[in-house]
């Protein structure tokens, strides 16, 4: 496993290098001047602007100077936000996005595993009218059809976030006044955006959980547990779930990528000052430093998260195999 970690970290370096280079070169090579603003700029001013932002010379000169700065940790000054360094902007906005993303992921896990487990149960015991949660507490609500939950889950994947979110805002925030529609700063402002962001992932996790649980429930060791006389719920929650959770860990990588991309939309719609908003603006504003910086952060985060997910999967899988 250490081999895996080392390999991944070593791989990360050229990957990040390529990604940042590609982004910088693309943004600089593309038509569009980061400083243009509607009124034409005098040539002498243009020269000065380029000098101020280290953008003089050929693209190669600019690129080499920029990469020199990047390896030293300096992501340069944004051309869009004229007195801010990219480091500063990222330092301010990354924590925000991380909170949003983690809460969304947590909600996705919560709802996804619950719904998926529910679907699996209804598949196994379509006539059972109750679900026992803990020793003495049972849920007196009939388990809905397996297909019904899965339809719900599919809907979650099929409706784009940028349709769901505005509708949710109108319904929950503007009409029913349950939650704030916009902004960031108090805990209740995180609920609606995180919820909207989590929907497609909760849906996928539900599908995964259901499929995986169904398969696990057919395995020998479950039959053994049942034969041993363990209550159905002990079987389910203490044994089957632990193994069934494996694919969900495996899904964490793609989920992180998806949450990252989805957060771009959510942040724009809910006015959350996270890093996703900056990404869209910086690409259209031809801000090479901000765009490259954001892409760098996104990629690093993804690599890290994929690594963690793979480590966790490896560890759990190995332990499972050991038995």
């Amino acid at each position: 496993m250490t081999a895996l970690i080392i390999r991944r970290l070593l791989q990360a370096i050229p990957v990040l290098f390529i990604v940042v280079s590609l982004t910088f070169l693309l943004v600089r090579a593309a038509p569009g001047n980061p400083f243009s603003n509607g009124k034409s700029i005098r040539p002498e001013i243009m020269v000065q602007l380029n000098q101020q932002h280290d953008l003089e010379g050929t693209i190669w000169d600019q690129y080499l100077r920029y990469m020199g700065k990047v390896v030293r940790g300096n992501l340069n000054i944004s051309t869009q936000y004229l007195n801010r360094s990219v480091n500063e902007i990222i330092a301010q906005s990354l924590p925000v996005s991380m909170v949003l993303g983690s809460v969304a992921y947590f909600l996705a896990l919560l709802f996804g595993i619950t719904l998926g487990g529910w679907a699996a149960i209804s598949h196994e015991r379509p006539n059972d009218q109750r679900i026992k949660l803990f020793a003495n507490f049972s849920w007196p609500i009939p388990a809905p059809g397996d297909r019904f939950i899965m339809l719900f889950a599919l809907l979650g994947i099929s409706i784009p976030i940028f349709v769901l979110a505005p509708l949710a805002v109108i319904l929950l925030a503007l009409n029913l006044n349950l939650l704030p529609a916009y902004g960031w700063g108090s805990p209740d402002q995180i609920i609606l955006p995180a919820l909207c962001l989590s929907v497609p992932f909760a849906a996928t996790i539900a599908r995964l959980t259901r499929g995986s649980l169904l398969e696990v429930l057919k395995l020998d060791f479950i039959r053994t547990a049942r034969a041993k006389g363990l209550s159905e719920d002990a079987v389910l929650f203490r044994h089957a779930l632990k193994v069934a959770i494996l694919p969900i860990i495996g899904y964490s990588g793609p989920a992180a990528a998806g949450i990252l991309t989805g957060s771009i939309v959510i942040e724009t719609l809910f006015g959350i000052p996270g890093i996703g908003q900056f990404f869209v603006n910086s690409a259209s504003n031809r801000d090479p430093f901000m765009t490259s910086g954001v892409v760098l952060v996104f990629s690093s985060f993804l690599i890290l998260f994929n690594l963690l997910a793979d480590i966790l999967y490896f560890v759990v899988d190995r332990r499972v195999k050991l038995e």
């Binding site: 590609l22 593309a30 038509p31 940028f162």
Partner: protein, 297 residues
């Protein structure tokens, strides 16, 4: 071939899946012939701006007074086209890559899978946005020089890049299957008979992969459609007055406000797209369950 036969059996036996299949067929036919028979052109403006559905305009009109039914059907054409082409690209790429990687095995396989790992960790959609934004003009000039004035550069770019973001999963799945198939006696026999690798890949392995390919195709198409609508929302989608479901939905999403809900602008394209995606997903799931010997009902 047996896979395809078992698909047919699966679909035929499940009423729900039959409905899905017919629905998709209907959408497909409507997309091809629909826009010509509605009585309006997709880019035809009028003074009837932002009208709710009426018997003149079954789906209502948009802000430029264009008939939404026509635009939705036209959008079906483009969305299906983009998704199909993108899926085809990702299929070709993924299958070829996976087959070579799995078949070659050993260090080549290792290397190729590591490349997949690397690409997996890139924020691909993010990079696609950067690339579409920045390559728009050069591609436009290229198309001009090739004489393809009618072809939208955006369409080309989006199809190409979306195909490039989705091939990884297909590659992994195919590779896994090829690794299994490689051990099968008929492959070993062919090798022993001295048949060339290409022949083995083409004549023996590929037919056995068809089932898997079809399944993952039906699951890639929805993903690409969603990706395309996502890009439209962010402003890097198709050029007006071309319409895809993605651009129609994005435009409608921008109009959502608490005072007046132009519900028809959102409901019809989003509804149609969601139903199509649902049908595709259900079909794909059903087919995949059919393929997997372990999940027996």
């Amino acid at each position: 071939m047996t896979a395809l036969l078992s698909f047919y059996r699966v679909v035929r036996n499940d009423r729900f899946l039959i409905v899905c299949a017919f629905f998709l067929l209907a959408v497909f036919l409507l997309a091809i012939w629909g826009p010509r028979h509605t009585g309006y052109r997709y880019d035809q403006i009028s003074d009837a701006s932002l009208l709710p559905p009426s018997h003149h305009h079954w789906f209502g009109t948009d802000v430029n007074g264009r008939d939404l039914l026509t635009r939705t059907l036209f959008g079906a054409r483009i969305s299906l086209l983009v998704a199909a082409l993108g899926a085809l690209i990702s299929l070709t790429l993924g299958v070829t890559y996976g087959m070579i990687s799995g078949y070659a095995g050993g260090r080549v396989d290792n290397l190729m899978m590591r490349l997949v790992e690397i690409i997996y960790s890139l924020p691909t959609l993010v990079l696609v946005i950067v690339m579409v934004t920045t390559l728009d003009n050069p591609v436009a000039s290229l198309l001009h020089r090739l004489g393809l004035v009618e072809l939208s550069p955006r369409l080309v770019l989006i199809v190409a890049f979306l195909g490039f973001t989705e091939w990884l999963t297909m590659a992994r799945i195919i590779r896994g299957q090829v690794l299994v198939l490689k051990q099968q006696p008929f492959v070993q026999a062919s090798l022993a008979l001295g048949q060339s690798h290409v022949r083995i890949l083409w004549k023996h392995l590929l037919p056995n992969l068809l089932g898997l390919i079809v399944v993952y195709l039906t699951l890639t198409v929805p993903t690409i459609m969603l990706d395309e609508s996502f890009m439209s929302f962010l402003g890097v989608g198709l050029q007006e007055p071309l319409a895809s479901w993605g651009t129609l939905i994005a435009n409608a999403a921008f109009l959502i406000n608490p005072i007046r809900l132009y519900w028809w602008l959102l409901l019809f394209p989003a509804g149609l797209m969601t139903l199509t995606l649902l049908a595709l997903n259900f079909l794909g799931d059903g087919l995949r369950d059919a393929l997997d010997p372990r999940i027996k009902k």
